[in-house]
């Protein structure tokens, strides 16, 4: 394990931890009664979940007419929220898969929680298309199953159907990847537990023993799943962008959409990881595992992807002008200076200008700035989807059909409600499962623990020891 590590690398596990302390620190939150803070947060999340349940009931009972969609604007808050949540759901697999392939050790501190977040975000995203079909009890029609209507098949040429396959595959594969990582850690909790908890965690851990052969296969499996998830995660948001890009609406019908959407998804996903991690590390006292080093790495990703998104915004404007195509030019004129100009300003400020603060190392390592920025990015990315979807539809080819969009309370309730659903799931997750991948952190301890020759001081100590 004594791999060669550059002395300028910052430690990823601080506090001079031993293997046992790692187990203790990460398992203990699942073993004690949660604190008041957790209960307050949980009560608030449950309340929002109640709002969600009521809004879903209203939507299903009275139909989509309870939303403010009209003949001009057929997609608005629903699809905005769907794309927003799917985007957030991209960071988990990016961290666990792509960073695994790139051998980035800092992923071990955050991958577990980020993957959990991914799964919960995709669950939230899924609510919107399901509700938007109107008759949710017939939603199984979207799957190509042998039926008595012909059989009449679904349209495999439609990006909306590709979306069904992409999102359901993504959810399934993310769940498998996440759970396979959790199995050895559930075994760790099992071996510390007594009575009924031991039985429950044994069931969850599938009877894991830690045999060397099992570990070998487990690592092989993780690596191949990472290899498969990497193109998968890129394909999912690409296909989401096809929902727009393959239509013939000016402002949507552009080839820049797939990379632009994927960069935006990574951007918003990392922002949500930051929001959650900053709270989690504080509440569960995991500052030694989710360090400033981790936050700085993620802030760098946010800076890069935010800037990519910014370049995409400007490219769109330039190409619209350069194309000489009046409808395209109008679509972008309308985005910047039309009736929804405020959401364009919100998007530009939150997504492009504000992340530039992360050029300064001091800011990248500042917890408060990072937290505020992560909220900014989440808001900005919501505006981006709203700009693309509602603004574009509001001004179509016939000025007599032009319209404006304001949501009803049902739509606001659904949006706020999915935030409740998301946090309820996440808070429950922090109680029952280790939020940091125990085995993976242990496996990097010797190369990235602060007591093992790290930083300039560590290197000097080592030199002395050698002499």
């Amino acid at each position: 394990m004594s791999s060669v590590v550059s002395p300028i690398r910052q430690p990823l596990v601080t506090g001079g931890k031993t293997y046992h302390q790692i187990t203790e620190d990460i398992c203990s939150p699942t073993e004690r009664m949660p604190g008041t803070l957790w209960f307050i947060a949980f009560a608030a999340s449950i309340a929002l979940l109640g709002v969600f349940a009521f809004s879903v009931f209203w939507t299903v009972y009275y139909g989509i007419g309870s939303w403010n969609l009209n003949r001009t604007i057929g997609w608005s808050w629903d699809i905005t929220n769907f794309v927003w949540w799917v985007g957030i759901g991209h960071a988990g697999t990016l961290i666990s898969a792509i960073l695994l392939l790139f051998r980035q050790k800092w992923r071990t501190g955050v991958n577990r929680a980020a993957e959990a977040m991914t799964i919960f975000a995709v669950i939230c995203a899924g609510q919107y298309p399901l509700l938007h079909v109107g008759r949710i009890w017939l939603v199984f029609f979207i799957f190509p199953y042998p039926n008595t209507r012909g059989p009449l098949w679904v349209n495999f040429n439609s990006p909306l159907l590709w979306d069904v396959f992409a999102i359901s595959t993504y959810l399934t594969v993310s769940l498998l990847f996440w759970y396979t990582g959790l199995v050895p850690d559930f075994a760790t909790i099992r071996d510390r537990a007594k009575g009924i908890r031991k039985r429950i965690y044994n069931g969850l851990s599938f009877g894991w023993t830690g045999s060397a052969k099992h570990w070998q296969r487990w690592e092989a499996l993780s690596l191949i799943l990472a290899g498969l998830s990497t193109p998968l995660v890129l394909s999912v948001h690409t296909i989401v962008s096809f929902d727009f890009a393959t239509s013939v609406i000016p402002g949507w019908h552009t080839t820049i959409f797939p990379p632009y959407f994927v960069a935006g998804a990574v951007f918003s996903g990392f922002a949500m990881v930051q929001t959650l991690m900053i709270i989690t590390r504080k509440v569960l006292k995991l500052e030694d595992y989710i360090t400033l080093e981790h936050m700085e790495s993620m802030n760098k990703v946010i800076l890069v992807t935010g800037t990519i998104v910014g370049v995409a915004y400007l490219t769109e404007l330039f190409i619209a002008w350069y194309s000489g195509y009046v409808y395209e030019q109008f679509a972008f004129y309308n985005r910047v200076l039309g009736p929804f100009y405020w959401s364009y300003i919100g998007m530009m400020t939150c997504n492009v200008l504000s992340p530039q603060i992360f050029w300064w190392k001091k800011m990248r390592r500042n917890v408060f700035v990072t937290f505020v920025m992560s909220l900014f990015v989440n808001v900005g990315m919501w505006f981006e989807r709203f700009v693309i979807i509602a603004t574009t539809l509001a001004r179509d080819y016939i000025p007599s059909s032009w319209s404006y969009y304001t949501p009803t309370w049902v739509e606001i309730g659904l949006f706020v409600g999915t935030i409740g659903l998301f946090f309820t799931l996440f808070l429950l997750f922090t109680r029952v499962a280790p939020v940091v991948a125990i085995a993976e952190v242990k496996s990097i301890l010797k190369s990235s623990g602060d007591q093992y020759s790290h930083g300039s001081q560590g290197a000097e100590n080592e030199k002395e020891a050698v002499n």
Binding site: M1, S2, T18, Y19, H20, T23, P144, P151, L152, W153, N155, F156, N157, P159, L161, W162, F165, A166, T169, T172, V173, L176, F177, T180, P184, A187, T188, D191, R192, N202, G203, L204, F206, G207, W208, T209, G210, S211, A212, K213, H214, W215, Q216, R217, W218, A220, L221, I224, L225, L228, S229, P231, L232, S235, I239, A439, E440, K442, S443, K446
Partner: protein, 176 residues
């Protein structure tokens, strides 16, 4: 698993590097290690224990290929022979439009098949109770286990000597 009512002699180590050198020494002394248990994947252990490379990727490839063929051929059959419909003036066999779903099903088939195979060949499933030698193996102890029934008394003494020479922290015998 078949190892019911088996007597196991095992030593616990505190560090993976000590464990690795102990395994090396056991190999030199031609001691037949039954199994090694660790709290996390220890690199370099596979070669020492003579493990061949995992063949899970073959499962992934086969099922990925099945998924790809199934998706592509199914869509082709639906749109060219079962219920041909013209969408947007494109040909019935519009292969580029089949690619996204073909890709998704390739990944889906390969992933599910590999995960199921992994748990099946490891003998792990929900509710399965595997006997554990020591509760600290999933925490911070590294364990080398020998089958005590398969060895004579002298051989067992040699193994105990091996444990003390290789700085095992604890040595126990347990019936599982």
């Amino acid at each position: 698993m078949e190892n019911q009512n088996k007597s196991v002699l095992f030593g616990l180590y505190n560090d993976e590097e000590v464990l690795l050198s102990a395994i090396e020494k056991a190999n030199d002394q031609h001691l037949e290690i039954m199994e090694v248990f660790t709290p996390f994947p220890v690199h370099g252990i596979d070669e020492l224990l003579g493990f061949t490379e995992s063949r899970l990727h073959i499962v992934g490839f086969i099922f990925g290929a099945i998924g790809a063929a199934f998706a592509f051929l199914f869509m082709t059959w639906v749109f060219t022979s079962d219920w041909p419909i013209i969408f947007g003036g494109k040909p019935y066999f519009s292969a580029p439009a089949f690619i996204p779903i073909t890709f998704e099903l390739t990944v889906l088939f390969a992933s599910i098949a590999m995960v199921v195979t992994f748990y099946a060949i490891c003998g792990l499933w929900p509710g399965k109770v595997n006997p554990t030698l020591d509760d600290r193996i999933t925490d911070d102890k590294f364990c080398i286990a020998f089958d005590a029934d398969a060895h004579s008394k002298e051989e067992l003494n040699a193994i105990k000597l091996f444990f003390s020479e290789t700085l095992a922290e604890e040595v126990h015998t347990k019936d599982i």
